[in-house]
């Protein structure tokens, strides 16, 4: 038994064990449950560091699951590569901090045991996604994060809004999974395998030429539907803002940092599949870009602090998807990592505010919190700076540069959208900070707010440090993403800023390398065109600085000293009426069809096949009853007897 064989399984199963123990034994003693859960997550964090040291591509023990001989065989196996190592670290670090924060946030909650069991179940499921070495295993854990998300969004299930939100999240994700499942099945048919490694070998090998291109595109896009659901891309984005009904630490862990990023992670894992179809890559890029834009527009007009952050998450997820689609999964994953930290920080910060303001979430009912909660304020501002890509000292800057660069190399239109989104991001985040933290307290709740206890601000501080530190080369290197099948010998974007010389030259170097590592499938002309683009990377840096300034000044101009929103854009505030549209579809398409069919079933089918004959029989039964004084028993007896007689006659000929 080597480490590589057992260690991943321990990491995977520990949280499941924790969830099971809580469910079975410690439901009544909530503090014990919390300790078990926190203990398990800390242990997995430590082990995840050990996981990083495992040799790349080491074989872990496989666990057979479905085995039908030669016909069909699926085993659970572990992928050990830099992608899974990096993601696992992100998941466990943030998981640990959120668990600790929850100790304070959920201290007096009646359902504390259920909450921590849910968190542990989530950690199990998420770890499974990260480690999966085949499509079916990923799908299994994909579904399981869905249900842990359901449990946690619906934690306060007596609240109608929370109950509805959890249901909506699960069903919307199922719609994505519908496509994802068909995609997986098609990939299986095309490549004769479910194993990521084997699929990659097939698609990059000589067999790929024989594959029907349209089919491959369809498969890639259907697999992408999984991402659209899980990472809440347009048009399945509607569940994520509602998911904010869950406790805020859950929003930080699941609905900002990790689970929603699983869609991006999955795309990066199968980047070779996207690389094999130009149209699929095109669609994915544009879906990402449009999601980034639309969500940012909606974020500018929200008043609920968590919803602003939720739309911001949508928008940033759009960035990541866009980068992956544009042929740079490294950039997408890099942004995923940095975003995970600063967005978790922002959510936990929001949680601290909500906790102190007695569950007030409307930023217009806050104000002046800067003085009441200085630590929260400081860390929140750091998170905001990272999200707005404040240059050089925040991690967000570096990853957003990478994303913008990917967009620039792909298509000018995509790049301009991405840049505009950057301006919007700064605008809505500055608005949030000004309204919530500056000015005077606008309500009693805000007036009486106090700094949160150490168990809550300590995670904030750690995350804040990480949001800054990850700009330091060694750390960012640790977080850097090497995406398998996307240039194995690839030195990452993060490494390139290792010398900290943030010059155009450095960026240009990065760029040329990225361009050189395009997937095999892409045409050479494409690569040349990109190398051409790559000569102007300064545009990226200027654009990002310019948008930062514009967004910041814009927000200051409009929101300084305001006590109510001076801008009213109904379309944005009402989220482009997408929810209303879907509600109409559900009511008039699904439910109406269902009712019509139910009527059809009840009257026509039942009438034709059951009521008519049975009415006749009932009449006969009544007649029999009169004749023989019989009842159901005697009928049943006759029924049995009749069958025997019929048998006898027929068989006897």
């Amino acid at each position: 038994m080597t480490n590589a064989e057992t260690l991943p399984w321990i990491i995977l199963l520990l949280p499941l064990l924790s969830a099971a123990v809580i469910l079975l034994f410690t439901r009544k003693s909530s503090s014990v449950s919390a300790l078990i859960s926190v203990g398990s997550v800390i242990a997995t964090l430590v082990l995840a560091i050990g996981f990083r040291r495992l040799p790349e591509g080491a074989e872990s023990a496989a666990l057979p699951w479905i085995d039908l001989g030669e016909t069909f065989r699926v085993a659970f196996g572990i992928t050990i590569d830099s992608l899974s190592k990096g993601m696992l670290l992100v998941v466990t670090v943030i998981g640990t901090l959120v668990h600790i924060f929850s100790l304070g946030y959920m201290k007096d909650d009646a359902g504390k045991s259920r909450y921590f069991a849910g968190l542990s179940l989530f950690m199990f499921s998420m770890t499974g996604i990260v480690m999966a070495n085949n499509f079916l295993m990923m799908f299994v854990f994909w579904e399981l994060v869905g249900v842990s998300s359901y449990i946690l969004i619906g934690h306060w299930f007596e609240k109608d809004s929370a109950a509805d939100a959890s249901k909506k999240a699960f069903i919307t994700n199922r719609i994505g999974d519908f496509g994802f499942a068909i995609g997986i099945l098609l990939v299986w048919c095309i490549t004769k395998s479910l194993d990521f490694g084997e699929i990659q070998i097939f698609l990059t090998g000589p067999n790929a030429a024989g594959v029907n291109a349209g089919l491959l595109t369809a498969a890639a896009l259907l697999v992408f539907m999984g991402t659209v659901g899980k990472s809440a891309q347009l048009p399945l984005h509607v569940w994520l803002p509602d998911a904010m009904e869950g406790p805020t630490p859950v929003s930080a862990l699941i609905h900002a940092a990790t689970m929603v990023a699983a869609g991006v992670y999955m795309l990066a894992r199968v980047a070779f599949l996207i690389g094999a179809s130009e149209f699929a890559a095109f669609t994915i890029t544009w879906v990402g870009a449009i999601t980034a834009l639309v969500a940012a527009l909606m974020a500018t007009q929200q008043n609920d602090i968590k919803r602003i952050l939720a739309y911001s998450t949508l928008s940033q997820l759009g960035y990541m998807v866009m980068a992956v689609g544009a042929g740079s999964p490294e950039a997408g994953m890099f942004h995923l990592y940095t975003h995970a930290f600063f967005k978790a920080l922002l959510f936990l910060g929001a949680g601290a505010i909500i906790y102190s303001c007695h569950h007030e979430q409307d930023i217009w009912k806050m104000g002046g919190l800067r003085k009441k909660m200085p630590l929260t304020f400081l860390t929140f501002v750091i998170g905001t700076a990272a999200l707005c890509a404040f240059p050089w000292i925040t991690s967000g800057f570096w990853s957003k540069e990478a994303v913008l660069l990917a967009a620039w190399q792909y298509n000018a239109g995509v790049f301009y959208i991405a840049a505009f989104v950057a301006a919007l991001t700064t605008f809505y985040m500055t608005r949030l900070v000004i309204v919530a933290f500056f000015g005077k307290p606008r309500t009693d709740a805000a007036d009486h707010a106090k700094e949160v206890p150490a168990v809550m601000w300590a995670p904030l501080a750690i995350l804040a440090v990480m949001s800054l530190l990850s700009a330091v080369p060694t750390i960012s290197d640790a977080m850097s993403a090497q995406v398998p099948g996307h240039g194995e010998a690839h030195s990452t974007l993060a490494e390139h800023k290792g010398d900290h010389a943030v010059t155009e030259a450095a960026l240009a170097e990065t760029t040329s390398e990225t361009a050189a590592e395009k997937p095999v499938a892409e045409s050479e002309t494409h690569a040349v065109a990109e190398a051409d683009h790559a000569k102007h990377p300064s545009v990226v840096l200027y654009a990002s600085l310019f948008t930062l300034v514009v967004g910041f000044i814009g927000a200051i101009f409009y929101y300084r000293g305001q006590s109510r929103d001076p801008i009213r854009i109904g379309v944005f505030a009402n989220k482009f009426y997408v929810d209303e549209l879907y509600a109409l579809i559900v009511r008039f398409v699904q439910d109406l069809t269902a009712s019509v069919l139910a009527g059809f079933d009840k009257y026509l089918i039942d009438g034709l096949f059951a009521r008519l004959p049975s009415a006749g029989a009932y009449g006969i039964g009544n007649a029999l009853r009169r004749l023989q004084g019989g009842n159901l028993q005697s009928y049943a007896f006759l029924f049995g007897l009749g069958i025997v007689i019929v048998l006898y006659i027929v068989l006897g000929r």
């Binding site: 699951w65 085995d67 016909t71 509805d164 249901k167 069919l597 159901l632 019929v646």
Partner: protein, 518 residues
């Protein structure tokens, strides 16, 4: 290996029933009989040789045969013959588990007397007859008894719905299901007789019939109409669209253990018959009607799925959901390959346990609540958390969440439906694969209705229309145990499907080798 295990398992419940009629305490005797049966089933499962003995032509084990009729009055030789292979072993285990749970959740004797002064003796003997009939049908290796045991189980089912059922429509619903399934059984009987005659009318042994069918085979024209009769006959029993309307109302009226036993176990007889008889003996007939079957099963999945969404009462919703899920089982059979058929058998087990669990919980709710209407409930999770949690397990099992047997079964069914394209990409995507794609939408639909139901019953604030729920009591431990039994069964197979697949593969491979089907 000519032990008497199988005879024991089939007849012991009947012996117990007689004992009850002779004055043995009804509930205790029935429960003990089911416990003994479960142990005997476990013994069979442990002694079952996974790989059969050598190159056995038919992998039935524990074979036994007693000639009942031999040439009397011109009748053929009919033997009371039992045997068990991978498929029937899984169904036997299902029956043991659901049978035990169903008898366990049955009301106490005093409660039965309290309800319209009914007889506990009749109640428990009927249950035992249903169980014995189901086991007999699954274990029979003789066509006649295969059919007759199923009828033996149906009769007490009808009785119980009419006598012990719920609601004012119970008698009417009992009649409906009686006539409906009676007619279905007759159609089936006609098909079976046709099959028997077209094989020369010499034997009713399934093994010998299969050997004959593999030899000269049955003429294509005969296969065509025999398969249709079998499809319709078995179809009625499994509630194949549009022959399903008996099911929801009957289940809603049925006493809880009967709903559990019929929807969980007895209904699987039709699927079992298709796999055991129709598919391997009538390959040409299957090919003729495969497209019809696909259309009808999509009716189950999509149309009945949507009808389920429209339901406003828990018991009816569960009844329809059970009809809907049969579509997935049919899909596995219609793909006619090892993956799909294995998936279908696994689904019989998974669905059997999960629907039994859900009907059991529905019964617990019926005992506690003034109404099962969605609009008259809400927020129950707070008042009866253990029941809510178990209902959640049932709901998510039924939705096909990984970790429950349902997920792995459904996954295999879908992989089965794509196998045709996997094997023959040059012929393009065929209807079976398209049906698999459309059927996947059913996975969304089932999430919609199940989570809606869960939302309306257990989550949110209580409805204004709900009655007084202050005195609600949660499940006692005695009430939880049978439900936990079902949950554990679902999870064991969900985590380790290999336990069953190991049993199934040799059986199905041998069927495939022999019949050229699969």
């Amino acid at each position: 290996m000519n032990d008497f295990y199988l005879e024991f398992i089939v007849f012991f419940p009947l012996v117990a029933a007689v004992a009850i009629l002779l004055g043995s305490p009804a509930r205790f005797t029935a429960l003990a009989a089911m416990g003994v049966n479960a142990l005997a089933t476990l013994m069979v499962a442990l002694k079952f040789q996974v790989r059969g003995s050598g190159e056995q032509m038919f992998p039935f084990q524990f074979n036994s045969s007693h000639t009942m009729l031999d040439g009397i009055a011109g009748l053929p030789k009919i033997s009371l013959a039992f045997g068990v292979d991978g498929i029937s072993l899984i169904l036997l285990i299902l029956t043991a588990i659901v049978g035990l749970a169903a008898v366990w959740v049955s009301p106490s004797e005093s409660a039965i007397r309290g309800q319209r002064d009914n007889s506990p003796k009749l109640y428990y003997t009927s249950l035992l007859f249903i169980v014995a009939g189901a086991i007999g049908a699954f274990l029979s290796t003789d066509l006649f008894f295969f059919f007759a045991f199923h009828e033996l189980a149906l009769i007490p089912t009808f009785l119980m719905i009419g006598i012990f059922g719920h609601g004012k429509d119970r008698v009417r619903n009992a009649w409906t299901i009686t006539i409906y399934l009676g007619v279905g059984s007759l159609v089936l009987l006609a098909g079976l007789i046709g099959l028997y005659l077209s094989l020369g009318g010499a034997t009713t042994s399934l093994v010998e019939m299969q050997a004959l069918a593999n030899g000269d085979g049955i003429a294509a024209g005969a296969q065509k109409w025999i398969f249709l009769l079998l499809l319709l006959g078995f179809g009625v029993l499994v509630s194949l669209f549009p022959l399903h309307t008996w099911a929801p109302a009957a289940y809603a009226s049925a006493p809880t253990p009967v709903a559990m036993l019929h929807s969980g176990v007895l209904k699987k007889f039709g699927l079992y018959g298709l796999i055991r008889i129709a598919l391997p003996m009538l390959p040409i007939g299957f090919a003729d009607w495969q497209n019809l079957l696909l259309v009808l099963l999509l009716g189950n999945i999509i149309i009945i799925g949507l009808v389920t969404v429209a339901q406003k009462r828990l018991d009816l919703m569960l009844g329809y959901s059970s009809v809907m899920h049969m579509g997935f089982a049919f899909l596995g059979i219609a793909s006619a390959n090892i993956i799909g058929v294995s998936g279908a058998v696994m689904l019989m087990f998974a669905h059997g346990c999960s629907i039994a669990l859900q009907f059991a919980l529905c019964g617990q709710l019926r005992d506690r609540l003034p109404s099962l209407d969605f609009d008259r409930n809400g927020g129950l999770g707070k008042k009866i958390p253990a029941l809510g949690l178990l209902f959640g397990f049932g709901a998510f099992a039924s939705i096909g969440l990984p970790g429950f047997a349902n997920f792995v079964s459904e996954i295999m069914v879908f992989f089965g439906s794509f196998k045709r394209y996997f094997d023959n990409p040059e012929e393009g995507i065929r209807f079976i694969t398209i049906a698999g794609m459309i059927g996947l939408w059913g996975v969304v639909i089932s999430a919609v209705y199940m989570l809606r139901a869960y939302r309306k019953m257990f989550m949110g604030s209580p409805s204004k229309l709900s009655g007084d729920t202050s005195g609600l009591t949660d499940l006692t431990w005695a009430e939880r145990l049978p439900l936990l039994l079902l949950v554990i069964a679902l999870m064991i197979i969900g985590f380790r499907p290999g336990i069953f697949l190991e049993l199934l593969t040799p059986t199905l491979e041998s069927m495939a080798r022999l019949s050229g089907q699969l």
